[in-house]
C-alpha cells in the first residue's frame, strides 16, 4: 500500500540529516546547516521538526506530536497522521508514554526522562537575526562569541520599558558558549531546557538549520544580575478543568463583561490529571 520508503525519505537523505544531528549534539547550541528537503507539509509548518523526526524514528518508537501544547490542534494532527502513515509507529497523547515528542513552541509539563527525545520546531533559528540580518555576519559573531548586540537589545528594552520585553523565544546561553534561540517557547519553558535529562533537538526546515542540546546541558536565559529573568506570571490562576496551578495556562476570552477563564495549555497533561482525579473520586487507586 505504501509506495514510500520507511519514514518517507530515502536512506541517503536520512543519513544526511543524522550526520547534521550528530554534529549538532557534539557542539551544543551551534546551528548546523543541512540541505532540508521540501516536505508534503508547508515550510513554516514544522518541516524542520518533521525532518528530524523522520531521520531518527524507528519502528519501536511511540510518538507524541503537539502544537502550541495541544495534541488535537489541526497541525499536530496532520503531522502525526503523516508520520504514522509513513512509519506505522504507535502514537500517544501522554508525554510519559512517548519515546519521541515533536512539539511546536511548548516543552511538556511532565518532566522528560533520559529515555526520551524532544524535537522542537523552529521558525527563526538565528537568535541574532533581530540585530544582525546577514547570515554571514551573524555566523562570524557566533564564531567570535561576540554577543554585544543581543545584550544591548535587552538593555535597550530595560531603558525603554523598565524591564526586558521579550515574549516567547527569549534568548539563552548554552554551556557558556553559544547564544541560542530556544524556539518560540514561552519564557516559562526556558528553565525546563536547563539540565534536562532528555536529548533536545531543534529543526528549522525553511532556514535549513539543525541544533541540539544533549542531556544535562547548562542553558541559561539571558538576563542581567540586577534585572533577573522573569517568566510569564501564572500567579493566582487555576485551570478550570483540572485545577492545576503554576503551569502554563491558556487564557480564553468570554463575552464582554465576564472575566477570562484559564485552562492548561498542555492538553495531554490536563487530560491525565482529569482522569486520575475522576478515578480518585470514584475511590480507585491511581493506575500507575
Amino acid at each position: 500500500m505504501n509506495k514510500y520508503n520507511f519514514a518517507f525519505f530515502d536512506e541517503q537523505s536520512k543519513r544526511e540529516i543524522r550526520r547534521a544531528l550528530l554534529k549538532a549534539v557534539a557542539i551544543p547550541g551551534y546551528q548546523v546547516p543541512f540541505a532540508s528537503r521540501e516536505m508534503p507539509i508547508a515550510r513554516g509548518w514544522g518541516t524542520g521538526g518533521l525532518q528530524v523526526m523522520l531521520a531518527i524514528v524507528g519502528k519501536k518508537d511511540v510518538i507524541k506530536v503537539i502544537d502550541q501544547g495541544s495534541d488535537d490542534s489541526v497541525n499536530a494532527v496532520s503531522i502525526r497522521k503523516f508520520i504514522k502513515q509513513m512509519t506505522g509507529v504507535l502514537e500517544t497523547a501522554e508525554t510519559s508514554e512517548a519515546s519521541i515528542v515533536q512539539s511546536r513552541h511548548r516543552v511538556p509539563e511532565v518532566p522528560l526522562t533520559g529515555e526520551q527525545i524532544l524535537i522542537l520546531q523552529v521558525p527563526i533559528p538565528e537568535p541574532l537575526r533581530e540585530t544582525e540580518q546577514s547570515e554571514l555576519r551573524a555566523k562570524r559573531l557566533h564564531a567570535e562569541k561576540e554577543y554585544s548586540g543581543v545584550w544591548l537589545s535587552l538593555f535597550e528594552q530595560i531603558m525603554k520599558y523598565g524591564c526586558t520585553a521579550t515574549g516567547a523565544d527569549h534568548p539563552t546561553m548554552v554551556h557558556e558558549r553559544y547564544v541560542m534561540s530556544p524556539s518560540p517557547i514561552p519564557r516559562y519553558d526556558n528553565r525546563k531546557l536547563n539540565d534536562c535529562a532528555a536529548l533536545i533537538l531543534f529543526g528549522a526546515g525553511r532556514e535549513k538549520k539543525i541544533y541540539a542540546l544533549p542531556p544535562y546541558t547548562k542553558v541559561e536565559s539571558l538576563a542581567f544580575v540586577d534585572r533577573p529573568f522573569v517568566s510569564e506570571s501564572m500567579h493566582g490562576k487555576i485551570c478550570r478543568l483540572c485545577g492545576a496551578e503554576g503551569v502554563f495556562l491558556d487564557e480564553s476570552v468570554q463575552a464582554a463583561g465576564a472575566g477570562p477563564f484559564y485552562e492548561c495549555n498542555d492538553t495531554g497533561y490536563c487530560r491525565q490529571r482529569q482522569s486520575s482525579k475522576s478515578r480518585l473520586d470514584r475511590g480507585e487507586k491511581s493506575g500507575d
Partner: protein, 369 residues
C-alpha cells in the same frame, strides 16, 4: 500500556479535505490532465520552472490537483521531487547546440542568423478574444490543417543546419566585452547541500532559476527602476529553444557526446543582458566596460529569465545598502515554497506565543519590573 487515542481535530480535518474536493468538483466538470498539459502551456512551464522539475505530465497533474494555483502546484511538485533519489548529474550542455524556436536581440537590429520571433504574445493586442468561447475541435482541426499546408508550401526540402552565433561573442570579438575563461567547475547542488553565504555563483543561479516568477520579476524591476543598478540593461539576446540533456554512460565517463546517453530535451529560455559600468582604465582613466548578466530557466518564461539576468548581474556586483544587490536578501526571499510556507504559517494557532507577548505587554503597562 494504553495509548490514548487522539480525537477532535482529526474529524474536522477529514471534513475540510472533503469540502476541498467538493469545491473542485461542484460544477460537475473535470478537466483532463492532457487538456492542462496542452492548453495551459504557460502555467505548466511556470510550475516546472519554480518546482525545478522538468516533467510536463506531473506539472499538469499538480495544476489539476491545485485547481490552477501555481503556488500550490509548485509545492506539490517540490514535495514529490524530495522523494526522488538523485541518481545522475547531466553532462555539460552547450547552449550553442540549442534547437532555437525564438531568438530576438534588442541590442542589434540585424544579427547573424536573423531575428526569429517564434511564438510570443508580445506582438498581440491584449484584447479578449471572444471567439475562443466557441472554439470547437472541428474549428481547431480545420485551422491546423490550413496551417500545416501553409508551412509545407514554404518549407525548403532540406532544412539547412545553421549554427547561430551568440550576440555576446560579437561584442567580445570587438573587445567591448571582457573575454572570460570557460569555467566548468562542477556546480554545488543546493538541493543536497544547503547554501551558505557568501554563495557561489552556481548556487545563486540555481536559486534564481527556481525562484517564484513574480518575486524574481519584482526584484529585477526594482533593480532597473533605481534601487541599485542605476543602469538600463540591454537584452543582447533572448532565446527560447530546446536543448538535449545527456548523462555519462553509467559504467564510466565518456569522452564524446556520441558515447553519452541521451535522456531527452528540455525547453528553456535563455537571456544575455548587457550592462555598461564604469571601470578604471590604464593610468586611472575612467572607461566604460560592458558587463554581462545571465538568465536561464525551464520553459518559456521570458520576464522571469530577463529579471534573472538582471539579478545575476546585481549579485555579481554588490553595492552596499542596495537590497537587490544583497545576495542574502534576494536569495532567501524568492523561493515560492519557502515564502508562501512562512506566510501561510501565520494561519496556525499562536496562542502560546501570543499569551507570552500579552504577558510582557501587561507587565510593562502595569509598571511592574
Amino acid at each position: 500500556m494504553a495509548y490514548v487515542a487522539v480525537k477532535g481535530g482529526e474529524a474536522a480535518i477529514a471534513e475540510s479535505i472533503k469540502r476541498l474536493r467538493y469545491e473542485r468538483l461542484r460544477e460537475r466538470r473535470t478537466i483532463a490532465v492532457k487538456a492542462i498539459r496542452s492548453g495551459l502551456r504557460a502555467l505548466v512551464d511556470r510550475v516546472m520552472s519554480e518546482a525545478s522539475l522538468y516533467a510536463k505530465e506531473l506539472a499538469a497533474l499538480a495544476i489539476k490537483q491545485a485547481e490552477g494555483n501555481p503556488e500550490e502546484a509548485t509545492f506539490l511538485l517540490r514535495a514529490y521531487r524530495s522523494t526522488l533519489p538523485r541518481k545522475y548529474y547531466s553532462r555539460l550542455t552547450s547552449m550553442g547546440s540549442m534547437f532555437v524556436e525564438r531568438r530576438i536581440s534588442a541590442a542589434f537590429k540585424d544579427i547573424a542568423g536573423g531575428q526569429l520571433l517564434g511564438a510570443s504574445a508580445d506582438y498581440t493586442h491584449r484584447l479578449l478574444d471572444f471567439n475562443l468561447e466557441k472554439e470547437t475541435s472541428a474549428n481547431v482541426r480545420a485551422w491546423l490543417a490550413a496551417f500545416q499546408r501553409e508551412q509545407e508550401a514554404e518549407k525548403p526540402s532540406v532544412m539547412p543546419r545553421v549554427e547561430l552565433p551568440r550576440v555576446t561573442d560579437i561584442l567580445r570579438s570587438e573587445g567591448l566585452l571582457r573575454h572570460m575563461q570557460q569555467d566548468d567547475t562542477a556546480p554545488r547542488d543546493i538541493t543536497r547541500q544547503s547554501m551558505t553565504f557568501p554563495a557561489e555563483r552556481s548556487e545563486r543561479l540555481q536559486t534564481l532559476t527556481r525562484g517564484e516568477s513574480g518575486a524574481v520579476v519584482a526584484l529585477g524591476y526594482a533593480a532597473i527602476r533605481g534601487y541599485g543598478l542605476a543602469a538600463h540593461p540591454t537584452v543582447a539576446a533572448l532565446v527560447v529553444g530546446r536543448v538535449a540533456i545527456t548523462i555519462d554512460y553509467p559504467l564510466g565517463a565518456c569522452d564524446s557526446d556520441d558515447e553519452a546517453l541521451y535522456l531527452g530535451q528540455v525547453r528553456v529560455t535563455e537571456v544575455d543582458a548587457i550592462i555598461p559600468a564604469a571601470k578604471k582604465g590604464p593610468g586611472g582613466k575612467q572607461e566604460i566596460e560592458i558587463r554581462l548578466g545571465y538568465g536561464l530557466c525551464f520553459g518559456q518564461n521570458e520576464s522571469k529569465a530577463i529579471a534573472m539576468s538582471v539579478l545575476d548581474y546585481c549579485l555579481e556586483h554588490p553595492i552596499p545598502d542596495s537590497p537587490v544587490h544583497d545576495e542574502e536578501f534576494v536569495l532567501t526571499h524568492i523561493d515560492s515554497v519557502e515564502a508562501s510556507g512562512f506566510i501561510s504559517h501565520l494561519k496556525l494557532p499562536h496562542y502560546v506565543t501570543f499569551q507570552s507577548e500579552l504577558d510582557a505587554a501587561r507587565r510593562i503597562n502595569r509598571g511592574e519590573r
